[in-house]
């Protein structure tokens, strides 16, 4: 059988209360929604960093000594988004490089439509019909911008979800068995964002509900159910990011039982774009009892419909880390902070912010394992672990030349040795927190911290490492990434991290 083997969700820690947005615009539009909150990416997060975290959560396989990385055995990676940081540089390739899996993978980007997440999932599952197809990870991630005071500003959220899939023999414990799927294409423009534009242009919801949701869905759902050999009224969970107002009508049109629609997370996460159907599926699989039937629907210039049967791994909080990711949120009730971190408010960054962040690409290439994958060295002679890997061992009692082997540190346990909160250094989110961390495997790293508000860091606190934007090079339009330390107790995304 073809099956989903594991799932991972990443939601940025920052949650913006919708009441905060509404309060900011009360003079302009007093009718904005006030209930609930939405996720948003910090200044050093984008669709790519969110995707890396979702893939890590989906593929975590932490060994007893706290070292993983080498056990992410999948052979292909598909990355779906409408907000890739790079138009011409493989975004999936960079995700693979960050995971230390460069060189082994097919890595492909899927974009162009909010349906790209489910389309990538469908394509990967269909490819698994070939017994030679390797295990594949599909990740979808989006960080869409919205104009201040627009309905989308309150509706959108930022997030990512990933699934690992492969062939499994019958009887194997899987997350969900893939039963069948279908897709149709229709150039229905409910919204669009042209190349070079920052914001979506969105049409009237009533038209979309009646003409698209009502009339297009059956065209894919029917064939998908037929391919799966499942009757519509047997579906237990319909995973679709459809507006609540459309759900009752949809149930009637598709022949679904009432009450099978999952919560679309509008008041807790927001609409995460291409990631949303996958986020909803990961959430649904935490609740679905084994053998429950799920219908997944993606919408965007057509319809994807996929049918799954929940497996033995479903129905518990370990099925995905969605609940943990949701619980790890933290309210950031500053509207100007949200605006600034979305690039929608030009803050005074001071002259230190003028620093030229030009990247020497030849250096970045030579040092890519060190920088992009956070791989250190371990001395063959004395077993000393060090970061970064260098030609001569740093152990003062060894100092041997050319004895170091690669030692992945991204998943290594570590603690704060010392730190500071620097209000003088340039950062879009003052203070710049950085310090020295001691790896449990040995060795020290002088490293930036993130997701740590003033007063939240302490000596001895455990940290985990996350892949983040280090600098933006505005002069050349380049994004530079590196790993940062996050105090764990404050930002724990649950299993495997």
């Amino acid at each position: 059988m073809r099956a989903l083997l594991s799932a991972g969700v990443y939601l940025p820690r920052a949650r913006l209360p919708r009441s905060t947005i509404a309060a900011g615009h009360a003079w302009f539009n007093p009718n904005l929604p006030k209930g609930g909150e939405r996720t948003y990416a910090a200044w050093d997060e984008d669709s790519l960093t969110l995707a890396v975290e979702a893939v890590r959560a989906c593929t975590a396989d932490v060994l007893a000594n706290g070292i993983a990385g080498s056990h992410r055995q999948f052979g292909a990676l598909a990355f779906a988004s409408t907000t890739f940081p790079f138009a011409d540089r493989s975004n999936a390739g960079l995700v693979a490089a960050a995971l230390g899996r460069e060189g082994l993978l097919q890595a492909r980007d899927h974009g162009g439509s909010l349906r790209a997440g489910t389309s990538a999932l469908l394509a990967a599952l269909q490819a698994l019909a070939d017994p030679a197809c390797p295990e594949t990870v599909v990740v979808a991630s989006d960080t869409r911008q919205a104009k201040p005071a627009s309905p989308q500003e309150s509706q959108y959220g930022h997030g990512a979800a990933a699934f690992r899939m492969g062939r499994a023999t019958d009887g194997t414990a899987v997350l969900a068995e893939y039963l069948g799927g279908a897709a149709i294409t229709a150039d229905f423009v409910d919204h669009h964002r042209s190349d070079g534009e920052d914001f979506d242009y969105t049409l009237e919801e009533r038209w979309v509900r009646d003409e698209a949701w009502g009339k297009l869905l059956p065209g894919a759902v029917g064939p998908a159910l037929a391919a799966a050999g499942i009757a519509a009224n047997a579906i237990d969970h319909c995973v679709v990011n459809a507006p609540a107002a459309a759900q009752k009508k949809l149930a009637a049109q598709l022949g679904l039982r009432e009450g099978v629609f999952v919560d679309t997370l509008g008041k807790t996460v927001g609409d995460t774009g291409t990631a949303q159907p996958l986020v909803l599926l990961a959430a649904a699989l935490e609740k679905a009892t084994p053998s429950a039937l799920l219908l997944l629907i993606g919408f965007g210039q057509g319809i994807d419909a996929l049918v799954f049967r929940a497996g033995a791994l479903a129905g518990c909080s370990a099925a995905s880390n969605f609940s943990a990711a949701l619980a790890a949120g933290r309210q950031e009730p500053s509207y100007t902070r949200y605006l600034a971190h979305q690039g929608l408010l030009a803050m005074e960054l001071g002259m230190r912010g003028e620093r030229d962040n030009r990247t020497a690409q030849s250096v970045a290439w030579r040092k890519r394992r060190t920088v992009t994958a956070l791989i250190g060295g371990k001395c063959r002679d004395c077993s000393t672990v060090q970061y970064p890997l260098t030609r001569a061992c740093v152990n003062p009692d060894c100092r041997a030349f050319d004895t170091q082997e690669e030692f992945p540190l991204a998943d290594c346990a570590a603690k704060v040795k010392t730190f500071t909160e620097d209000w003088l250094a340039f950062t879009p989110a003052p203070p710049l927190v950085y310090g020295n961390v001691a790896f449990a495997a040995g060795g020290n790293a002088f490293i930036e911290f993130t997701d740590a508000a003033p007063g939240e860091t302490a000596v001895g606190q455990p940290v985990r490492f996350v892949f983040r934007l280090k600098d933006r090079d505005a002069l050349r339009g380049f994004h530079r990434y590196f790993w940062k330390a996050v105090p764990v107790s404050l930002h724990d995304h649950g299993e495997g991290n």
């Binding site: 730190f419 003088l424 250094a425 060795g443 003033p454």
Partner: protein
Amino acid sequence: MARGIRDQVAIVGMGCSRFGERWDAGPDDLMIEAFQEASADAGIERDRIEAAWLGVFYQEQSTSKSGLPLSMALRLPNVPVTRVENLCATGTEALRGAVYAVASGAVDIALAMGVEKLKDTGFGGLPERAKGTFEDLWQPGFTPPGAFAQLGAAYAAKHGLSMQDVKRAMAHVSWKSHENAALNPKAHLRNRITIEQALGAPMIAYPLGTFDCCGVSDGAACAIVTTPEIARSLGRTEAVTVKSLQLAPSNGVELSHGSWDGAHTPTTRLAAARAYAEAGIAGAEAIDLFEVHDCFSITELVLMEDLGFSAEGRAVYDILDGRYDRSGAKPCQIDGGLKCFGHPVGASGLRMAYEMYLQLLGRAGARQHSPQGKAPALGLTHNLGGIPNRNVAAIGIFGLMDV
């Protein structure tokens, strides 16, 4: 077996510009101001200088590279000028070059000049500086206060102290430097402050507040060095000689190895042991007064232990007891230190030597230290270039010829 530098080289003239926000002066003005004082002091004209060393750190900011800025500013007679740079140990490094040249017998008279013109950036604090194409890819975008501030959290944790207690000692360190600089006409910051002011100041980089950070100053300092014989021939009855000059750079341990605790500077301990041996003294107890690299109050605090003036874990108590005050047993930063005299990076090591020179000769005026009614016999200077994670420690010991 090398015999070391002790008593082989005498300092016969020193000069130091007024430190501060010298909007009136460029690097050449500052060098001339320091040189004219040294030249008059030594009775040595520039044409007798056979070789010179120029120390400047932010050359991009102030002077441009090479030895030319000194050669051109003083219109030296085309003698060799070498530009040196070793982070905040740059001034001491320039002195080391000149002293070694005389000790080797290659020249009779040499000049060491340190200069820094920092206040042309347009913003407060030190200029931004690239760390290298690889380092910029991964190291934090730190500032000097943030990089040194890390000593604070680690020191408090190591010794089981509350940050409040450490902060109180840090405030005493800064208060003392302001008290001392009030007596120094060349110092940048001559105002007196209260402990409460220091404790209540805005945070720069936890746990450092405004008053825990040294001045960003323009300035220059220089030394003219020669052999003890020539010093005597110049009529010097009391000559200050170099007892020791030692340098210990990091080799990566503090950056990458697990053994460093983040709460002390191993290079200072290494350099101190070598310096005491070269000077032929047992340790810190033989030193009458000293100047350390108090770029930040927490740095001075941990250095009391690294140099051996305080026992391990006792710096907070010794500082609060007044041991390092002007009236204490071992005055530290009697001229105001980097904190208040100022810190024009390339000049700082030579500024410290300048103070020792004045104190040893009994010429320090209102701030003269007189243990048991006499001028001090041995003084120590210390620089810590870079940041605790990767640094250069430099130590100089100076004394009168016969000591």
